[in-house]
């Protein structure tokens, strides 16, 4: 076992060297120093009291901004005025004043940030949807990112979400022709989980543990004893942001996209968990396809029984081309009423769009237009199938693949043979590695398996 461990470390070490590992051997101080404070935070407008927070983000405002953020996926169809408005509002995100942020640390961790941590940067380096992130160094000498939630926001958002009538009316005004019920349900699901940092810490640990040692996918470790329901402390990672990636060459963007794709579907089919927030702000890029995944505020785990009909669906639709069996799988999953008076071809047509990236064994470019068409179809209340179709609660979160992932890949104009990559991951195919990233992943997985087996034997 010792042997295999060393072997694994050696292999990973070589790999990291080859790809020029940036987040590996670095001192906490260097990492701390290389994480830039983002300049667009309006410190001159900082929120100074919980009352300021309520004024800025309470009374529906934060909730509706989130709705706008979701709607930005609906890009093409979003009315111009609304789109402009949302981008204006999203960029404001005033941070908390140093005193207000410290007060949250005091309440949650029992001391001033300057004494809880060995080093504390009082100026946040990033905004989070309902809070902000500070860099710090722990007493044990680890560089960490400390996410702090706005005080009072959890309570006020929960109350705002209860006002479903008002939310639906506004959704209807902002997005004519969309299924406002689905939109508002989606919004509620998203926010309820996002306000609970405890839940997020557990999810992040699940992913960090699974992807440990992965040559391309990195999930920062959680620092448990410095995390609570309103504070989440995890390993600090330095890397480039999505907008910087956009300036890199297409090869880099394709590789980053491939890793994101692998992360999403490997999590789903192998870990049976889905991190429901594929969003540009939640990645850091390290070049040559290496990506750190940051936000686990919305994660769902699936049982084998939950996943079975979905896996069947892919198999029948994509691999076997069996419409009737596909329909059966959709009925078992609850996406379609059994015995609905619609021809099977209509069912195949309607759902087939969501399998567009894996239908054929060929390179395909995911464009912004493709991503937007998928989203429009998803919220389209006018489909002939609409009266008979539904998104069962269990699977609601998966729709973020359609809402978020394709939007991200689309804005990268990413090209790959997505089908081959998917076949590597689909448990019913177990296809061979189809790309260099795939090969590295396969050896990681083999080592990982061997390691697991060794652990099981010693146990």
């Amino acid at each position: 076992m010792l042997q295999s461990r060393l072997g694994r470390a050696g292999a990973l070490g070589r790999l990291a060297l080859r790809v020029g590992g940036r987040y590996v051997a670095r001192s906490p101080r260097l990492i701390f120093a290389s994480v830039d404070r983002r300049t667009e935070l309006r410190h001159d407008l900082a929120l100074r009291t919980a009352d300021d927070v309520a004024e800025e983000l309470g009374s529906m405002k934060g909730v509706l901004m989130k709705l706008g953020q979701m709607a930005s996926y609906v890009d093409e169809d979003m009315p111009l005025t609304f789109r402009a408005a949302m981008s204006r509002l999203q960029h404001r995100a005033p941070p908390m004043s140093q005193e207000l942020a410290s007060s949250v640390i005091r309440e949650e961790l029992g001391g001033e940030p300057e004494t809880v941590f060995a080093r504390w940067d009082p100026v946040p380096f990033a905004a989070a949807s309902i809070g902000q992130v500070h860099r710090a160094i722990t007493q044990q000498g680890r560089a960490v990112a400390v996410k702090i939630q706005y005080p009072g926001i959890a309570r006020s958002m929960t109350s705002d979400l209860r006002n479903v009538g008002l939310l639906r009316r506004i959704a209807a005004a902002a997005f004519p022709g969309l299924d406002t019920r689905a939109l508002v349900d989606e919004l509620g699901e998203r926010l309820k989980e996002e306000v609970d940092y405890d839940l997020e810490a557990k999810s992040q640990e699940l992913f960090a543990d699974y992807f440990k040692g992965h040559p391309y996918i990195h999930v920062p470790a959680v620092v448990r004893d410095l995390s609570t329901a309103r504070v989440l402390t995890s390993e600090l990672v330095a890397g480039s942001r999505f907008d910087e990636l956009q300036g890199w060459d297409q090869r880099e963007r394709d590789m980053a996209a491939e890793t994101i794709y692998r992360f999403v579907f490997r999590s789903l089919y192998r870990l049976h968990a889905f991190n429901g927030d594929p969003h540009p702000g939640n990645y850091l890029f390290h070049g040559r396809g290496r990506v750190s995944f940051l936000d686990f505020g919305l994660t769902k785990r699936f049982t084998d029984e939950d996943l079975a009909p979905l896996i069947d669906g892919v198999r029948f639709m994509v691999v076997e081309g069996d419409g009737e069996s596909f329909r059966g799988a959709m009925e078992r999953a609850g996406f379609l009423q059994a015995g609905a008076p619609v021809p099977t071809q209509a069912v195949v047509d309607r759902f087939g769009h969501f399998y567009g990236t894996v239908m054929s064994d060929a390179p395909m470019t995911i464009t912004p237009a493709y991503a937007s068409a998928i989203v429009k179809r998803f919220f389209d209340a006018r489909s002939p199938l609409a009266p008979y179709s539904d998104v069962p609660r269990t699977y609601a979160i998966l729709q973020r693949i359609n809402l978020g992932l394709y939007a991200v890949l689309g804005s990268l104009n990413a090209t790959a043979n997505w089908r081959r990559i998917a076949e590597e991951i689909w448990p019913f195919v177990n296809g061979p590695a189809s790309t260099p990233i795939g090969e590295a992943e396969a050896s990681w997985y083999a080592e990982r398996d061997r390691h697991r087996v060794a652990l099981d034997r010693t146990a």
Partner: protein, 292 residues
Amino acid sequence: MSSEVDHESRLEMMAPLARAYARSVPEQPADAGLFGPRSLVWRVNRDRAFPLAGMRSLMVQALHPLAMAGVAEHSDWRRDPFGRLAATSGYVLTVTYGDTASANAAAARVRAVHTHVRGTDPVTGLSYSAEDPDLLLWVHAGMVDSIVEVVQRYGRGLSADEADRYVAEMVPFAVIVGVPPERVPASAHDLRTYIESVDLRQLTPAARDAIGVVLDPPDLAPDLRELWHDLGQVAIGTLPDWAREMYGFAAPPAESMERESVRQLIGAVDLMFESLPGVLEARERIELRSRG
């Protein structure tokens, strides 16, 4: 696409209000203006509950037959209600946040317009003039009382002391249009006493007509109309009993007047407003100067 056109027109009615807002908050003021960044007037007059206060003001002000007749017979409000609202709102903002010269100039324009506003009210048969300090005081009182009531219940809040201070700080608002300072109530209590002392209060057909338009403006997109109606119901709920009874409005159910849900409604409307060009920037200018 038609939805695009629909949406553009949806918020279009708010656009004059947004333009007025952006224009009235100067980027490079010559001085701190009539009140100054540390004043209560600055804090209160940018409260997000202001649309509600505005609706209530109009409902109270319209119950003076002579004040109402002046508006009904000399203003084009009916052709362009939101434009009229924008002009009033721009005036209040300029006097509040503009520098002294802008505030005085705005007041001078209002006084100039007022010289032409005179006539005879068809209901009471009394002659009126917009320069009449009685009418000017009534309009001032209706506005200030409404702001206090609404901001206390649904805004960022105002203690009893602060309400008194605010009413006192607002006295110049009445003075610059021609009310002798000694006649302007300077506490919340005096203000209420004054309003209830005005004998002429009554509902005229012109007032009924005007408030009908306020509560249900034409050309409002159907989905916005519902929000507007809700706002109107809350405004009715904040009226003093005598005013609500004159109009014959039923008191809205208590749950629709509950602070949290009203604030949610206000927040939603405010976000739409804030999303229009220039509004956020104007608010930031005010905020930065208040902190300065």
